[in-house]
Subunit: 202 residues, 2 copies
């Protein structure tokens, strides 16, 4: 049996849900307090402001979800296997939390104001080891020479964007939630194949 949440945690969790669901701007502190089952004043007792609360939540959310991805990217797995694992893990992660993409992107849109968040997001993009690997394999002639920045952007796009347009895809194809999940599951094979294909020597 889980330990009862303390007040701070209740606020944190309620706010996380609401921020993901409705976006930060459309979530009021009163709403957070109500959802957490506590009083409005406690919001400002634990976190000085809504901004502060948001900073804490965002940083934690990105950190929690990025660590495994970075570990794979920095590992010394063989290139094709690394791509497969990265895509699998990333898609699994987003499947569990499909709102994450829209959330991060909404923050990215106003990043000039948000130093804390920008730093957190940048950690998702630590690709030095992977970049070197792509260049090395290209030099060795094992793969087609490719621009690592383009390749990484291709990879992120194919992984993340479908979640951002989830509603559109579901609407157009009359997908149920379950069918959308099946669609996403198919991408776990399709996307690595496509990426590896683009590296193939001809």
């Amino acid at each position: 049996m889980a330990k009862l949440k303390n007040t701070e945690q209740k606020i944190f969790d309620a706010a996380t849900d609401l921020f993901l669901e409705k976006g930060v701007d459309r979530t009021s502190v009163r709403e957070i307090a109500t959802r957490a089952g506590i009083n409005l004043a406690l919001m400002n007792y634990y976190f000085r402001s809504k901004e502060n609360l948001f900073d804490a939540i965002f940083t934690q959310l990105v950190k929690q979800n990025s660590e495994e991805l970075i570990r794979v990217l920095d590992s010394d797995l063989e290139l094709h296997e690394k791509i497969r694992q990265y895509v699998h893990i990333y898609i699994d992660m987003l499947s569990e939390n499909p709102l994450l993409v829209s959330f991060v992107m909404s923050i990215l849109h106003r990043s000039r104001e948000r130093i804390t968040e920008m730093k957190a997001i940048s950690s998702l993009y630590a690709t030095d080891q992977f970049t070197r690997q792509l260049i090395d394999e290209g030099k060795k002639g094992n793969i087609r020479r490719t621009n690592p920045t383009h390749f990484f952007v291709d990879m992120l796009s194919l992984i993340a964007f479908p979640f951002a347009i989830k509603m559109l895809v579901m609407d157009k194809n009359n997908f149920t939630e379950k069918e959308f999940q099946e669609f996403i599951k198919e991408r776990k094979e399709r996307v690595p194949e496509m990426l590896i294909d683009s590296l193939r020597l001809r």
Copy 2:
């Protein structure tokens, strides 16, 4: 010499700029009025409410940008050439208005409430002719059989997502605005190549 804008148009244009730049929620009607150089009350004289104004802007924005894309998709161009043209036109369009992706996606995120906008967005996704073409060419053995929904999602992802993470890409690669534009220009060749590759028979 352009005709002087009337008040309605001034409001419309100012609001369009601000909505794209800051997002709807973070734009106040007072700000729109100031930017348009008119009084706050005129906002509600011409458009009954902020919601109304937004509906008008969004619909016009999507319509204006989608017509050419749909024409290409519905044309009887040969498949590979159609893909090339579609990607070119789409990327050119987004290059001219890089904020469009984030804007549309922020609306998509709360689409359950927004019937008007959802309909407009759906028009971007009218792919019947293209779907048939993909299936036909697959049957004829000219290309690999592919799932049209996946293919179209791949295409949209590779085209649009880089604009959504523009700040991240610029930050990580120390791109200037000009260098980012160069990066995007490279994708006009890279993306069609990748997509056509994925259709290649082996």
